[in-house]
């Protein structure tokens, strides 16, 4: 429970940056959905309205989580882990397939994107595991244990197949074990093994669709109307936006349907086309503000558990942004990852606000020891 004096530790910048990003997203979703909703906002079902509704719900979540002591979560990590695994297995067994991957789980009338929920749960579980082993953090056992925790959910999302989220799991784990203080030799040895096994992964584990995506990334002209289409059209959208963009709702690529899923994975192309480089830099500035405030929370955390949760959240967000934007601007092969706070999608938005709530909870309690 909270001590009221601690409320002054609440960081308004985290919530403000989150809200600013979500509003930014709502504006872009509005423009990107004009082809499907030519009459604009007519009701609550409009994606931009839904996006803001989720943000409003997110605010309640932030309040609730800030009030709740994050350390409570540390006591139920086995349950959280079990929920994550059940969700990921569930989505493989009975998920809804979209764009060639099973990602949605329909549950009691709700459509949940399992990997979005699982990401945060696994970060919490991993944080608890590492926090509890501060004394034996240099042991190989600890290192391998943490690896084991993350390998199972990573493998499950990889099977969906969702390479992007698998990479996010990996990045979060890497950042968290590094901050927790594992032996650098263990990390280096692991990374070397990974690098050496890459060819085998490409040949053995990667599905046809993933190899195809890499081939398309390297030369989208091979299949300009098929797999290469999104890559080429996204690049044209962003590139044609120039410095200041064509103006909101004025982008020909967006408004003439050249982008697939313009409110989701390719929303950055909408931004690039309609708001230009200036709009993109504003977006990056907002993310940087949020992420730096997140790192501040991590460094202020009173215990390793809080510090590691905050670190995991920051890494999760920054890699999602990087991968999503990288795909849009032809730096990375296509992999379906939403742009945090911006892309349409309730599960993603809500879980991001849960993450923000956790950061606030960590901040609110970092000096509690004084009271």
């Amino acid at each position: 429970m909270i001590y009221w004096r601690a409320v002054r530790h609440f960081d308004p910048w985290i919530v403000l940056a989150g809200l600013a990003l979500t509003s930014f997203g709502a504006i872009l979703i509005y423009s990107a959905s004009l082809t499907s909703y030519p009459d604009g906002i007519q009701g609550l079902a409009h994606p931009a309205v839904r996006h803001l509704t989720f943000a409003a719900m997110g605010l309640v979540v932030v309040g609730a989580l800030a009030w709740l002591d994050y350390r409570f979560l540390g006591q139920i990590t086995p349950t959280l882990y079990a929920v994550a695994i059940v969700l990921l297995v569930g989505v493989l067994v009975m998920g809804t397939e979209t764009y060639g991957a099973q990602r949605w789980l329909n549950f009691a009338g709700l459509s949940i994107q399992a990997s979005e929920v699982a990401k945060l749960l696994v970060i919490i579980v991993l944080a608890k595991y590492l926090a509890d082993r501060q004394t034996e953090i240099g042991d190989l056992r600890t290192f391998l244990g943490s690896l084991a925790i993350v390998v199972v959910p990573t493998g499950l999302v990889f099977l969906e197949p969702d390479l992007g989220t698998a990479i996010i799991f990996g990045a979060a784990w890497l950042g968290m074990v590094a901050v927790a203080g594992v032996r650098p030799q263990h990390l280096l040895a692991f990374l070397a093994t990974l690098a050496l096994s890459t060819p085998f992964v490409v040949v053995g584990l990667m599905g046809d669709y993933q190899r195809e995506r890499i081939a398309n990334f390297l030369n989208p002209g091979l299949d300009p109307l098929g797999g290469g289409f999104n890559i080429i059209q996204a690049a044209i959208s962003v590139g044609s936006g120039g410095l200041f963009g064509k103006g909101l709702t004025e982008g020909s690529q967006t408004q003439l349907d050249y982008l697939q899923t313009p409110t989701r994975d390719y929303i950055f192309s909408v931004l690039g086309e309609e708001l230009g480089l200036v709009g993109a830099l504003l977006l990056f500035a907002l993310f940087t503000l949020l992420l730096f405030r997140g790192l501040r929370a991590a460094s202020l955390a009173r215990d390793p558990f809080g510090r590691l949760i905050a670190t995991g959240i920051v890494i999760m967000i920054v890699f999602q942004v990087f991968i999503n934007v990288g795909v849009n601007i032809r730096l990375l092969p296509v992999t379906g990852i939403p742009l945090p706070f911006i892309s349409e999608g309730g599960s993603s938005i809500l879980m991001l606000f849960v993450a923000l709530g956790l950061l606030e909870s960590i901040l609110l309690r970092h000096k509690q020891i004084e009271f």
């Binding site: 797999g227 962003v238 590139g239 020909s252 003439l256 790192l295 032809r330």
Partner: protein, 626 residues
């Protein structure tokens, strides 16, 4: 711990808040740098794309957005000579086609789309795939590829297109004149793409549709349209309207055409091939032109399968061929009019020249007088003057005029002069009618025979030539044109099928004029003698089956032998009649040709019925109508 770089400065902005004075440690500094670094990478790539290569990408976006499309003009209509606006010979009707725009068809969905099209339209998926591939390879993937002239539901990259189709209202009756339009071929497209034709275009393939293509087609327009990713037009930004094609008014009289076809069908007997042409002797206007068998040119407006086309091509009577202009036949006795004109002009004969036909003449072999060749007449006709020679169609009479009779000291024209006169009557060259596929016919002479047959010219060849047999061949239209010149006093005219061109508002743009190809090298009085001979032929001679009560018709029949002899030594014959009326002041000339028939039994009575209709019944019908 190491405090340095951006992290520290950022912190140092709020140094007074004690609880914030944290020690981020090297790891957090590294994370700050990592974040900045990742965004820097993204920013560099964005600057490269949006600022440095921005123009290039903008051009690509414009290229995506804008598409220049052709607006095809409405094709001109065709009317008969009476230009009755309610009775065009052809109309444009809408046809709904399923088309694929290869540029809009995602490669990944191709198989699905083709399979679904196969299901819906019954066209094999491989066939569609092949066509799409070819169109892509042609380098013009934006042009719609017609898959079927039918409706189709929503499939990506598949569109419904409304196209104009030609509907020929009189089908078989007018097909040899009007011809038809068809899809542009690859070679035609290569030639014509700079004239505004598109890959999917239609153009005249034969007949008036072909010859007057430039007039009927009109000027295509253009429009600049904004299209969405599926190729659907969103907005027209700029357009240049198309100019509709002009209308063609034919010289053909539809009612006469109907009657001509009806009469020809009635009199062609067992023959499967026949032709008849009616021409205005004063102007060269063709009033009707019928070739049997015929075909329905509407077949070509739909999608004609290869089997259907093969069937048409292989049918015995060659229905796609216009026998009036494209096929060459021996003219038989009808040629005696030309032979006679030449003989009169050259002084070989005069109206009083009398020759006795014993039913044959003989010619001894040049080298061996014991070998004697016999050339027969169709009967022993006795003594005949020039008029009698023509009216009774004596072969012997015209053997004399053509080849002479050496032993009797009668000098004939000889092959050289005969060929020269035949050519001056327009034989051996196309008449220049405004239809495609006209044949030139053949006028033989000694040089020709030597080159093509490899034999010298004998006097017997001249005899055969003189009665329109042997190597001489003509088209029915050529023969008609020659007789027309005799009828009109020596003007060899260019026959034509178009009376005037009118624009889409009905204003006359141009009217065709009488065109005299040349004047016959025959004096008026000699032509008058030939005309009189032809009059007698109908009135009291062998063409009497062409008689019409109350009408003076001049004409000449012919039954030209062809092929190999039958068991009884006789030959199959082409039946001919060619003539004009009224005798005193000729208005029209008629030729009737029946492939396997007789001039007397088939051709002459058919021509008589046509004259009768033109001068008597039609007049009555018109009087009744008004």
């Amino acid at each position: 711990m190491n405090f340095s770089g951006g992290g520290q400065r950022w912190r140092s902005q709020k140094p007074k808040r004690r609880e914030d004075a944290y020690n981020p440690g090297r790891k957090f500094l590294f994370l700050h740098i990592l974040i900045v670094l990742l965004f820097a990478i993204l920013t560099i790539q964005l600057v490269r794309m949006q600022v440095i290569e921005g123009d290039d990408y903008r051009a690509q976006a414009e290229n995506n957005r804008l598409r220049e499309l052709q607006i095809l003009p409405a094709r001109g209509l065709i009317y008969d000579r009476n230009y009755n606006l309610d009775q065009p010979l052809v109309e444009n009707v809408a046809k709904f086609s399923a088309v694929i725009v290869p540029a809009d068809l995602p490669a990944k969905e191709e198989a699905t789309v083709f399979a679904r099209l196969e299901e819906l339209l019954g066209i094999p998926a491989q066939e569609i795939a092949k066509q799409v591939r070819e169109k892509r390879e042609d380098g013009n993937p934006y042009e719609p590829l017609v898959i079927k002239d039918e409706l189709s539901p929503h499939l990506p990259g598949v569109d419904l297109q409304i196209e104009a189709r030609r509907n020929y209202l009189d089908g078989e009756l007018m097909s040899h004149i009007l011809g038809y339009v068809g899809p542009i071929s690859a070679e035609e497209y290569a030639d014509l793409k700079n004239d505004g034709y598109i890959l999917n275009d239609q153009l005249g393939k034969t007949g008036i549709e072909l010859v007057y293509e430039d007039i009927l087609r009109g000027e295509p327009g253009k429009k600049l349209a904004e299209v969405d990713a599926s190729g659907r037009e969103q907005d027209v930004l700029d357009s240049l309207p198309s100019e509709p094609g002009q209308n063609v008014v034919l010289t053909i009289d539809l009612e006469l055409q109907k009657k001509t076809a009806e009469i020809l069908n009635q009199f062609k007997g067992a023959s499967d091939t026949a032709a008849a042409v009616v021409m205005d002797v004063r102007t060269g206007e063709v009033l009707s032109m019928v070739s049997l068998p015929t075909y329905d040119n509407n077949l070509f407006s739909g999608t004609l399968s290869q089997e259907e086309l093969d069937a048409l091509l292989n049918e015995p009577g060659k229905p796609l061929v216009n026998h009036a202009i494209a096929e060459m036949y021996a003219p038989g006795s009808t040629f005696k009019t030309i032979n006679g004109s030449a003989a009169l002009q050259e002084g070989v004969a005069n109206p009083g020249t009398t020759i006795v036909s014993h039913g044959y003449i003989t010619v001894p072999n040049q080298y061996d007088p014991n070998v004697v060749y016999v050339f027969r007449d169709w009967a022993a006709l006795g003594a005949l003057d020039f008029y009698g020679g023509i009216s009774m169609s004596s072969d012997v009479y015209f053997y004399y005029l053509a080849g002479g009779k050496q032993d009797e000291g009668f000098q004939g024209l000889g092959e050289e002069r005969l060929a020269r006169y035949a050519r001056s009557f327009g034989l051996g060259e196309p008449t220049g009618i405004d239809l495609a596929g006209e044949s030139a016919g053949l006028v033989p002479d000694a040089k020709w025979k030597e080159q093509n047959v490899g034999e010298m010219w004998y006097v017997g060849d001249t005899y055969n030539f003189g009665i329109g047999q042997g190597y001489l061949t003509v088209t029915p239209l050529q023969l008609l044109d020659a007789i027309t010149a005799i009828a009109n006093g020596g003007e060899l005219l260019r026959p034509h099928l178009v009376k005037e061109i009118r624009d889409s508002h009905g204003n006359v743009v141009s009217a065709s004029q009488k065109e005299v190809r040349r004047l016959l090298p025959v004096a008026q009085e000699n032509l008058a003698v030939v005309r009189e001979g032809m009059r007698r032929s109908v009135a009291e001679g062998v063409a009497s089956s062409a008689q019409v009560a109350g009408l003076a018709i001049a004409g000449k029949t012919g039954s030209a032998e062809f092929g190999s002899p039958r068991a009884d030594g006789t030959y199959e014959t082409h039946g001919w009649f060619v003539g004009f009326a009224p005798y005193d002041d000729p208005e029209i000339a008629v030729v009737v040709f029946v492939d396997k028939g007789s001039g007397f039994i088939n051709a002459a009575p058919a021509a008589g019925r046509i004259f009768d209709y033109y001068f008597n019944q039609r007049y009555v019908a018109e009087q009744e109508a008004s």
